[in-house]
């Protein structure tokens, strides 16, 4: 296994659209292991996309299980991921390994239906909500050459989830 070099904004390659995977090759499996090792080397990070390390293929890894307060499906290898339905929207704060020292508010769908192949090439369908759905939408954006910077909302835009403390 090996740590892969991360592309950092304003590297123009981060705007490239990634290509679908047509075959789960041995080379791809090895790449996924390296991508996971790279991902694990950033504690607190919840996802990584192949184009962030310069491989422009539609593969992302997501794992929010270290934040057990959020519903999650554990560690996910998502190949050719497609979101088939979106529901609701809210604003949350995001950061990105490829955009150091900056976080901002981004509007995302609250719930999604996600279809993807796993590392064995099996088709999977997931219903996701909240934090995990946000992470997946952030990572799939990378496959389309988009960063959270492209989706920032105003600093003055309030976060929508609120805890009422008084009447």
């Amino acid at each position: 296994m090996a740590l892969l070099d991360l592309l950092v904004y304003p590297d123009k390659r981060l705007t490239k659209v990634s290509q679908p995977i047509s075959e789960i090759s041995e080379n791809l499996k090895q790449f996924i292991l390296n991508l996971e090792e790279t991902f694990r080397s950033f504690p607190g990070c919840v996802g990584i996309a192949a184009p962030q390390v310069g491989r422009f293929e539609r593969v992302v890894l997501v794992d929010i299980s270290h934040k057990p307060q959020h519903d999650n499906h554990g560690f996910l290898v998502l190949i050719n991921p497609e979101i088939s339905s979106y529901e609701g929207s809210n604003v949350g704060r995001e950061g990105c390994l490829s955009v150091p020292d900056y976080t901002g508010k981004v509007e995302r769908a609250v719930s999604i239906t996600l279809e993807a192949l796993n590392e064995k090439g099996e088709k999977k369908v997931f219903q996701m909500k909240g934090y995990e759905a946000r992470a997946v939408q952030h990572e799939i954006d990378h496959l389309d050459g988009k960063l959270f910077l492209d989706r920032l909302v105003s600093r003055r835009n309030a976060l929508s989830k609120r805890i009422e403390l008084s009447t």
Partner: protein, 169 residues
């Protein structure tokens, strides 16, 4: 740090930033916003020229736009952002001392304020005060929540608190 204020009108930002660019100034982080009928700028700028030359150039722009400005030498300290972990919104009928009491209570409960924005809305004869605060809960969320509940009860305002869990992908 350039601090600048004056009656709001079109073109202030363009004119001021052009003047600084003409001095080979390099802008850092800024906050530029309309407060009531005024326009305000807090702006970090690194200028190779002497302060007296910057003063002179800015004075001519400010005379034209009837603005007041002030320059202070500061350390940049860029690339050291602190992430907020809590957001607090407070609103209610405007009352004297509301900001002092709110921020006093929150400070005691461990809040380090990173950003505060407040607006006066409602009718002129019954104004409403709306405040949004983002910061770091130095003594934890529970401490802040208790303080906010007490503050809300004692001051007859509505207060919401939302933990901020920044997602890094």
């Amino acid at each position: 740090m350039l601090t600048l204020v004056g009656k709001d009108r079109n073109g202030i930002v363009a004119k001021v930033s052009q003047a600084l660019f003409d001095l080979n100034g390099n802008l850092g982080e800024t906050s530029m916003t309309r407060l009531g009928g005024n326009f305000t700028i807090m702006l970090m700028v690194c200028v190779p020229e002497k302060t007296s030359i910057v003063q002179e150039k800015l004075q001519s722009v400010c005379d034209e736009f009837e603005l007041f400005f002030h320059l202070d030498e500061i350390e940049g300290e860029l690339h050291q952002h602190i992430e907020p972990d809590v957001r607090i919104s407070i609103h209610g009928a405007d009352q004297a001392g509301i900001v002092a009491r709110a921020t006093g209570a929150l400070n005691e409960a461990g809040l380090n304020i990173l950003n505060l924005e407040s607006d006066v809305g409602g009718q002129p004869d019954s104004p409403v005060y709306i405040m949004h605060i983002e910061g770091v809960a130095g003594k934890g969320i529970d401490s802040l929540e208790k303080a906010l509940q007490k503050f809300s009860r004692e001051n007859d305002v509505v207060a919401h608190m939302t933990p901020i869990d920044t997602m890094v992908g």
